[in-house]
Assembly symmetry: C2
Homo-oligomer: 336 residues x 2
DNA sequence: TCAGAATATGGAAGCGCTTCCAGTTTGGCA
DNA sequence: TGCCAAACTGGAAGCGCTTCCATATTCTGA
């Protein structure tokens, strides 16, 4: 049915090894042989079988990446950067969606490992013990992303969600906000959101602010933002800034303000986290924390390539940093 | 290093064939043997090598899916439905991102075919001739999704973007809108957007409306929606409804209206397409076309499973339909 | 009780490639 | 011209599994 390497070899009247060498760009093949083989490959429409190659070479040319939600633009960008870099080196990505559930992540890791990927990318830095153990035992390079940790499985590339949230809260304090509330979803617990909350709490502690009652929980969607707004408005102590763990929550809150005729930032300032396209588009523009996620993905890809090339990478931890984008939702660019 | 099937066989004092039979749930294995083998598998922590299995069985248990943008929630939902169904049958998805570019799609299809997937899912129904030829030649089941066509490569599951756009325009006409404009991006041409435009034009023709100058082009992002709004406002003939080929464009237009203090739908009604979560969350709520994309993905998965099971599927085309959600952006629920 | 069918089982062959080793050819240099 | 090293090449072995065939065992029923 399909053409095999052996058939190409026969037609070109060379050994199978020689065809393999041509395919893999080995340089110890004479130009005339190479040309002849390549001509046969073209004429016969030969396409190598990567399954067989993977078995023989014990390199599959495949990297697995786990993200918490396919369809979430944040993670899509990371995957895009990662995929671009790897693709340039002939490596393909296999993407798994673990839906923010550690148990699903564990199951997917177990499944994926049976496919013998050359490396793994994981979103986040907190994983089941079993997951870590399996990955370590596999012996392949692992990169964790989108956050930082001192105890990675192998390598990490990301930014400190803790530091970013803390910096944002501190900046808002400098801008004059004194009574803040923080809203995060806890239904899908993950280390990024958790660290953002911790960063906020750390800032509050440093600023001497009383945080009692100022931490809210809400589902991580637009409705969740609206619900949080409702609670904030009915809070005993008046609140002048709502810090949201994600842009989605923040945008949900802004929409609810619009519905209720509440001035943003006049009556209540709102800030988010992630800098989704939506944050720049909405009016008022949303103050948020921005990270170059495509670049982060690319860095992850380069780290993996380094490791795959056998070069012991000189680092195991890369901080890509973050930027706070101040927009109108917290009063930026608005005359006092 | 890692445990192989042969080692399990040796420990269990059976042949490799028997272990294989146990693994694959063949029923002609005596219970005592099965138990012994399974005990060894557990004790030794054996994990099958799917690469080797794929080569030997010429079934990889892998399905490739191509979407135009990873990180786009619409496609994420389809993939989720598809992946869920396939996963229940031990099949894993390999996702490719072709970025709305037919050439990239072709390249990815070529690459993916070298991995010998058991089946393929493609977004959209228009593809390069080479792409179609490669897929047909591969002989594996193919499902195209997210639109309909009379000339599928193999199977299709989707809805008629044409019919939906036409129905929306007709409904808006019945609601009293007489001067419509339609905006779509042409920078990333694809059959879904193209068919939506055609559906709109068909409705206009049927309604006897003059469409000259009422079709706009704009990048498919929030800014594109804002830009379209600007053009509509400066159009010679006053326009009372802006139909957008995507919710993103529509939301961009609504944001721009808010910035300019233009009443929606008072001064201008706006409708979108896709029913993103954003459409229900924004105020005014966005009238749009809704499709159960998760269900669509599930149907695609079932079609593939049917085909893989060798059952000649009794259909090659499934229409999952669409729903028009009328919301406040076109006056729904607003007292006249 | 025994032939014949049904059920279990071992093990070889092979899936399509890479890789290694041995053998052949070519090239360089004195 | 001769000799050794370097460059090239063929082909066997093997990657870890499935599958088929032949054999061994157990179960039927007359």
């Amino acid at each position: 049915m399909t053409v095999t390497l052996a058939e190409v070899a026969k037609r070109a009247r060379v050994g199978t090894g020689t065809v393999s060498r041509v395919l893999n760009g080995a340089r110890n093949v004479s130009p005339s042989t190479r040309d002849r083989v390549q001509a046969c490959i073209r004429e016969m429409g030969y396409r190598p079988n990567l399954v067989a190659r993977g078995l023989a070479a014990s390199r599959t040319g495949m990297v697995c990446a786990l993200i918490p939600a396919i369809g979430a633009p944040q993670h899509g960008e990371v995957i895009q950067g990662l995929g671009d870099v790897l693709h340039e080196h002939g490596i393909q990505l296999m993407i798994g969606d673990c839906g923010y559930q550690p148990d699903r992540e564990e199951a997917i890791v177990a499944d994926f490992l049976e496919r013998r990927p050359d490396a793994f990318y994981l979103t986040g830095v907190v994983h089941n013990a079993k997951t870590r153990q399996m990955l370590r035992a596999s012996g392949i390079p692992i990169v964790e992303g989108a956050n930082l940790t001192d105890d990675p499985i192998d390598c990490v590339v990301g930014y400190s969600n803790f530091a970013a949230a803390r910096a944002l809260a501190q900046l808002m304090h400098r801008r004059g906000h004194r009574t803040m509330a923080f809203v995060a979803s806890t239904s899908d617990p993950n280390d990024r959101i958790g660290d953002r909350l911790k960063g906020y709490l750390a800032a509050c502690a440093e600023l001497g602010q009383d945080t009692r009652g100022l931490v809210l929980e809400s589902a991580n969607n637009f409705n969740g933002g609206a619900a949080a707004l409702d609670i904030v408005l009915h809070h005993a102590a008046p609140i002048d800034l709502l810090l949201c763990a994600t842009d989605v929550l923040a945008v949900g809150a802004i929409f609810e303000c619009q519905r209720r005729g509440i001035a943003v930032p006049g009556r209540l300032a709102i800030a988010g986290f992630d800098d989704l396209p939506l944050a720049a588009a909405i009016s008022p523009g949303l103050t948020t924390v921005s990270v170059d996620r495509i670049a982060m993905g690319r860095v992850a890809g380069h780290m993996l390539l380094q490791r795959l090339a056998g070069r012991q990478s000189p680092y195991t931890k890369i901080d890509v940093g973050f930027t706070i984008r101040e927009r109108a939702s917290t009063g930026a660019g608005i005359a006092p």
